[in-house]
């Protein structure tokens, strides 16, 4: 999963020349790449420093210095260390000894608390619980309405009161309501607040006192930058966090904030929000987040997305073709069309290791027009040409170009892309990818 970073670090080692044994300085040079990757992912600078120091120590023990493949070794250590921080404790929600269990969501403004409250309620109901949602954000206009609408959609009860009531009082009443409804979980949506807002931080403490929650969850936007640690520390100090939920992970944010928070506070990450729909909540996978932070593409996510749009049999077939190297231009076209359904090309390619650097070269508006062009070209080929593109010589190329209203250069470009895809797929199948592809049920 870490081809790109491995590549970059190999490059560093290559540049350093072939002088036999690696030195401390060589390792430091390579670690600069690691530092870069982490900073680009918004990992807190202090955390980056500590992290690279630890990795450095492990790299200098000898194993790496004497290794024939030092770059791979460095990346392996980086990955292990990352997963060690990101993993750890189990990530389930902890129920209370006596029901109802009580969960409160806290965080900055705009992080996604209200949506997450609804998602959690649905998640709990699906695992056999009786959730009650509580609208304790009395401040943001229409926040109560928002939760009510979501509750109605899900057919999950929502306890809401006049916004003039204090959130702590609302929680007291919600506890009574939970008893009446025999709810097993109470999920409280609180208003967003700045960690430096004394008044509102105090009010949050009051809510905690009233609710006596079993879970206090900080909702963090995956796009958060360097301030994440300070924010998390402030919330943790006031209400004692029991978990984190990282939201908006369906975008292209690397989510380094989670690593920073986890390593500074030790608070475990429990879920990830991956969409606006109420069922877009995923259990948390440390290894996936690690690969994402390193910018190494997230093949698992890609494969899951592919699964969602491709039907299973077809997916299996394609997989077999890849394995037997009979993957042809028709399949390529179909893949492209499928891929288009999953999102923009750039987005997809970002998820494929080694291809993310390519996305920068893609011209604007590549999606529609590119796929249309490929369609036109492939349809202008004979079936034989589609199966065996190596047959396409100069005169065939001109014919196809004419037939598809493109240029011979376009044909060349497509064939190049096709060969790259073929190569990539073979690599995936042959190497570390086997495990991944076999996950395609």
């Amino acid at each position: 999963m870490f081809e790109l970073l491995t590549e970059k670090i190999s490059e560093v080692f290559r540049k350093l020349g072939n002088k036999g044994k690696l030195t401390e300085k060589d390792v430091d040079e390579a670690l600069r790449q690691v530092r870069l990757a982490l900073l680009e992912a918004d990992v807190n600078l202090k955390v980056v420093k500590e992290f690279t120091a630890r990795v450095r120590e492990r790299c200098l023990i000898g194993e790496v210095l004497e290794s024939l493949t030092p770059a791979q070794h460095v990346v392996k250590i980086v990955n292990e260390e990352l997963v060690a921080i990101l993993g750890g404790k189990q990530t389930h929600l902890t129920p209370a000894g006596h029901p109802p269990s009580r969960l409160m969501l806290v965080g900055l403004q705009g992080g996604g608390k209200t949506t997450t409250a609804a998602k959690l309620a649905l998640h709990l109901r699906r695992s056999g619980q009786q959730p009650l949602l509580v609208a304790a954000d009395t401040r943001r206009p229409a926040a109560i309405d928002q939760l009510k609408v979501l509750g109605k959609q899900l057919d999950i009860p929502v306890h809401a009161e006049d916004p003039k009531m204090s959130p702590a009082n609302i929680c007291n009443n919600a506890l009574k309501r939970a008893k009446e409804l025999a709810s097993s979980w109470i999920i409280v949506d609180t208003q967003g607040r700045l960690h430096i807002d004394e008044v509102l931080m105090g009010e949050m403490e009051d809510v905690k006192k009233a609710l006596q929650p079993t879970e206090v969850i900080l909702v963090v936007d995956a796009m958060t930058g360097q301030e994440a640690v300070r924010v998390a520390e402030a919330f943790n100090a006031r209400v004692g966090l029991t978990g984190l939920i990282l939201t908006k992970m369906d975008g292209d944010a690397r989510g380094g904030a989670a690593l920073s928070i986890k390593s500074v506070t030790g608070v475990p990450i429990k879920f990830m929000g991956v969409g606006e729909k109420v069922d877009a909540l995923e259990p948390y996978h440390p290894d996936r987040l690690a690969s994402r932070i390193l910018g190494m593409g997230d093949m698992l996510t890609l494969i899951e997305k592919a699964e969602a749009v491709m039907d299973e049999d077809r997916a299996k077939e394609v997989q077999k073709k890849i394995r037997t190297a009979t993957f042809n231009l028709e399949d390529f076209l179909e893949q492209l069309q499928q891929v288009k359904k999953m999102g923009t090309m750039g987005q997809i390619m970002d998820m494929i290791p080694g291809l993310s650097s390519l996305t920068k070269k893609l011209p604007e508006g590549v999606d529609e027009s590119q796929v249309k062009k490929v369609e036109a070209i492939v349809y202008s080929m004979t079936p034989q040409e589609r199966q065996h593109p190596e047959l396409i010589d100069g005169s065939r190329r001109r014919r196809i170009a004419k037939g598809s209203g493109t240029t011979p250069q376009d044909i060349n470009q497509l064939l190049n892309q096709f060969r790259q895809a073929q190569k990539l797929m073979k690599q995936l199948d042959a190497g570390k990818g086997r495990g991944l592809l076999s996950k395609l049920k």
Binding site: L39, Q109, P141, D145, T224
Partner: protein
């Protein structure tokens, strides 16, 4: 009077930043000599402010070159040069959207960045300037988004054109423009649903909203403002890129500057994409908005 109030708020917010981050930068230059340690620390401070490695390195490189060339030895002077360089980055050439009326202001951004609140603030500010304002509730997707905008519309005293939840956002904009024509409206501000910039379909939808506005009346100039949360890290660049590709962002509104985040990502965006910052948001109330003035801003925080 409100303007003065606004300015005070901005100063307060800026001051808070100043007390932490910028004061550290300032202090950096209070020592006797300029050495490698100065540059290393400056680098760390800029990165900690989300400026990003690329722009940070570029800024320091420029600063050091000028320090060498102009034979600067006084840290004090170096600080002045740094100020100039930051202002230069924040003052991208041209791309002004003009000040003609009527106009349509399209507010876009990722989920939760502060779009709807910013609209209330903008509406208030236009009203103060004597402009007739109409709001279009084109976020028909998020639960209760329409109610939220209406609440603000009431509060500020401007009308809101809205359809049912789930309606076509383009149709809302269409109606708003038609209504505006009859009512002699100067500014139509369009609230759009928050969307992650990587979502193909949602970005297409946004393009469509823009096209609709153009089709109804191509003569009305449009201004597209990207609302960016100051706590955003390096992903802000990707947001700016994608939204610009889709709907050609004219300016940025940087919100939540009342927190401790410095919004340094706008430096990277200005530097790498030439998009100016138009306003800053410094709180949750309608007064908490100020036009962004690069020089004043940098002066205030670095002096």
């Amino acid at each position: 009077m409100f303007k003065i109030f606004r300015r005070r708020k901005t100063e307060e917010a800026v001051k808070r930043s100043k007390d932490t981050w910028f004061s550290k930068i300032s202090r950096l230059f209070e020592r006797d000599t300029l050495d490698q340690d100065t540059w290393d620390q400056l680098e760390e401070l800029l990165i900690s402010a989300d400026v990003g490695l690329v722009t940070t390195e570029k800024l320091i490189h420029k600063l050091r070159r000028r320090v060498d060339k102009e034979k600067i030895t006084q840290p004090e002077q170096a600080r002045e040069v740094l100020k100039e360089e930051i202002v230069a980055i924040l003052n991208p050439d041209g791309r002004s959207t003009g000040q003609s009326y009527p106009r349509i202001v399209l507010i876009v951004g990722v989920n939760g960045s502060g779009k709807t609140t910013t609209i209330a603030k903008l509406a208030r500010s236009y009203k103060e300037d004597g402009r007739a304002v109409l709001l279009a509730a084109a976020d028909t997707f998020r639960a209760a988004a329409i109610d939220q905008l209406k609440w603000w519309g009431d509060k500020v005293g401007v009308d809101v054109i809205s359809h049912q939840a789930g309606a076509d956002p383009g149709a809302v904009v269409f109606d708003a423009i038609q209504a505006a024509k009859h009512r002699q409206i100067d500014v139509i501000i369009v609230d759009t649903a928050g969307r992650l910039h990587t979502k193909f379909n949602l970005m297409e939808e946004l393009k469509k909203v823009k096209r609709v506005a153009q089709r109804v009346d191509a003569a009305i100039p449009q201004q597209t403002l990207l609302v960016l949360d100051a706590t955003t890290g390096q992903n802000g660049l990707s947001q700016a890129r994608h939204f610009t590709e889709a709907v050609n962002v004219d300016g940025i509104v940087l919100t939540k500057l009342d927190g401790t985040a410095k919004g340094g990502i706008v430096l990277a965006i200005s530097d790498q994409m030439n998009i100016p910052i138009e306003y800053i948001g410094t709180g949750e109330q309608v007064d908490d908005l100020a036009p962004f003035e690069p020089r004043d801003f940098v002066e205030a925080v670095l002096s």
